[in-house]
């Protein structure tokens, strides 16, 4: 009885979310299966998409860029997150703060500055520079969840391992790494999909030569909302599947989020 008042407080939030989150997603699902005249077409939009010649290249580029970005971010981000939890760097919050500041600087500005710096240094723009830019943008998103997960690991597990005869290196591989897997998974989900679907980064850092999925959808939106919906729907389904898989792998509580 007493709770009803508090439960009622969620109503505006629930209405807003229903209107601006759930309804738009339903609209995507609807638009994906009708043509621009509003007539029902089961696979018409998807067939149109398949006809797009540029899409093959876009998907190829996106997969290459997405996978290499997440691999590089993991290889660089894990050690950074690991050492930032060490006493040497963790005495104050300053070090982790330094790694987070770029996240709050407008990414277009960073990409445009990077492009200008590449220009001065004479580095040719192409896939390499696009991947560099994506890593630049998404590295903090890899570091943060791993950092919070590592920080939560109780020191007693390492002491336990050493007590049982593990050298510090063995203890790292047998205890720290397995216990930080939820953070790694959460980091990867925060890097892979966004880096594939980001828009404007590749445009700036490859002088419009390389297009990723994000750019493709944006351009599509201008002339065919139905096709844009269709491809968005595919992306959402892929995302949902990957979320279900990762939720099974990492149990919810151990997962480290950014916020």
């Amino acid at each position: 009885m007493r709770n009803t008042f508090r439960k009622m407080l969620a109503t505006p939030y629930a209405l807003f979310m229903a209107l601006f989150v759930i309804l738009p997603i339903v609209l995507i699902a609807v638009y994906a299966f009708i043509d621009s005249d509003g007539a029902l077409t089961l696979l018409g939009n998807f067939k149109e998409l398949a006809k797009e010649k540029s899409l093959d290249n876009v998907i190829k580029n996106s997969v290459i860029a997405g996978l290499s970005t997440s691999a590089i971010c993991l290889v660089i981000g894990y050690p950074i997150a690991y050492y930032l939890t060490k006493k040497e760097f963790n005495r104050t919050g300053v070090m982790i703060g330094l790694f987070l500041v770029p996240m709050w600087v407008n990414f277009l500005l960073r990409m445009m500055s990077t492009k200008a710096v590449f220009g001065v240094l004479g580095i040719p723009l192409g896939m390499g520079t696009v991947i560099y830019g994506l890593c630049y943008e998404f590295l903090p998103f890899m570091i943060m969840p791993i950092y919070t997960t590592l920080l939560k690991i109780d020191k007693m597990y390492l002491e336990g391992a050493e007590d049982l005869g593990a050298t510090p290196i063995k203890a790292f591989w047998k205890v720290t790494v397995p216990l930080s897997i939820p953070g790694v998974i959460s980091g990867l989900t925060m890097v892979i999909i966004p880096s594939i679907t980001t828009f404007a980064v590749s445009e700036i850092l490859s002088d419009n030569k390389i297009k990723l999925l994000g750019d493709f959808i944006y351009n599509l939106k201008a002339y065919n909302l139905n096709m844009a919906s269709a491809i968005s729907l595919v992306l959402m389904v892929l995302l949902a599947i990957s979320m279900i898989i990762t939720n099974k792998v990492s149990d919810d509580e151990a997962g480290g989020g950014i916020w």
Partner: protein, 275 residues
């Protein structure tokens, strides 16, 4: 020892790479050139021009700042109210399924690709525009549209900042307030809100920064309404995409952001508990 040096070098190099473009831009904001190379002598002129409104992009910059701040402030306000109320309500709900439904819908804007969220909102706005037949609205209408779009992806973050505070605080204090004669509304304002205020403040700041930083959703949903992000995007194809006044403007913004983040992560008194 060697390892220690290697670790420091590694961290140092990554930090240098992260800050190189930003620092480069800041350095060249102190000289009179639109490029990133030709140093033309040290000057504060870019900053003076920026503040006196004499720079080449002055009117464009002013408009973008006004638009960005307007949308940012109202987004922050709206999403903080919605998110806080949502968190309090959600915290009181004990039905697991209802709770899970709330959490999933809260997660959607956070994990969905920005471009997909943008398209989905565009569909919604299209639908609304076609039913009540307004094509490209006035400045205020566009601003409201953008505030609603931004609130969509900011509210979940507010909720996630407030919810842990509620979970940490003792549920009993609300009940104690009722027991001592408060009406539910009074108990909420006198006891619960002050208790979760830190989470609300962080959530509001987060919503504000997310809004002013947003590019994708803004770009997809509005055309004749320039924010700082879309202004930058509009400049990208020029010969020198970052003219002098833009450099100095974003240098100032960088210093504000830097100070803000450093205050948030300022050295804490780490109480050492030892036996």
């Amino acid at each position: 020892m060697v390892r220690k040096i290697l670790v420091r070098c590694f961290i140092g190099i990554i930090l240098i790479l992260l800050y190189l473009p930003i620092v480069w831009m800041i350095v060249f904001s102190f000289t009179d050139t639109p490029s990133f190379s030709n140093w033309n002598g040290f000057t504060f002129q870019n900053y003076i021009d920026l503040f006196t409104g004499q720079s080449s992009n002055a009117s464009r910059i002013n408009e973008a700042i006004v638009n960005t701040l307007f949308v940012g402030v109202f987004t922050s306000l709206l999403s903080t109210i919605l998110g806080t109320l949502g968190a309090i309500g959600l915290h009181a709900i004990h039905n697991k399924r209802v709770k899970a439904a709330y959490m999933v819908s809260n997660q959607i804007p956070m994990i969905n690709s920005e471009i997909v969220t943008a398209i989905s909102l565009a569909l919604l706005f299209n639908l609304v525009a076609s039913t009540i037949s307004i094509s490209d609205g006035t400045w205020l209408e566009t601003a409201i549209k953008l505030i609603l779009a931004h609130t969509t992806f900011c509210t979940p973050y507010v909720l996630l900042n407030v919810l842990p505070r509620l979970q940490k605080s003792d549920n009993k204090i609300y009940e104690a307030a009722l027991d001592l004669g408060c009406t539910p509304a009074k108990a909420m304002f006198k006891v619960v809100l002050p208790d979760i205020m830190p989470g609300i403040v962080v959530g509001a700041i987060l919503a504000f920064t997310l809004s002013i930083d947003d590019f994708v959703i803004t770009k997809v949903n509005v055309t004749s309404f320039e924010t700082l992000s879309t202004m930058l995007y509009g400049l990208k194809s020029g010969k020198h995409p970052l003219p002098a006044d833009i450099k100095s403007l974003f240098s100032i913004i960088f210093f504000i952001v830097f100070a803000g983040v450093m205050i948030m992560y300022r050295p804490k008194n780490q109480a050492k508990s030892k036996k």
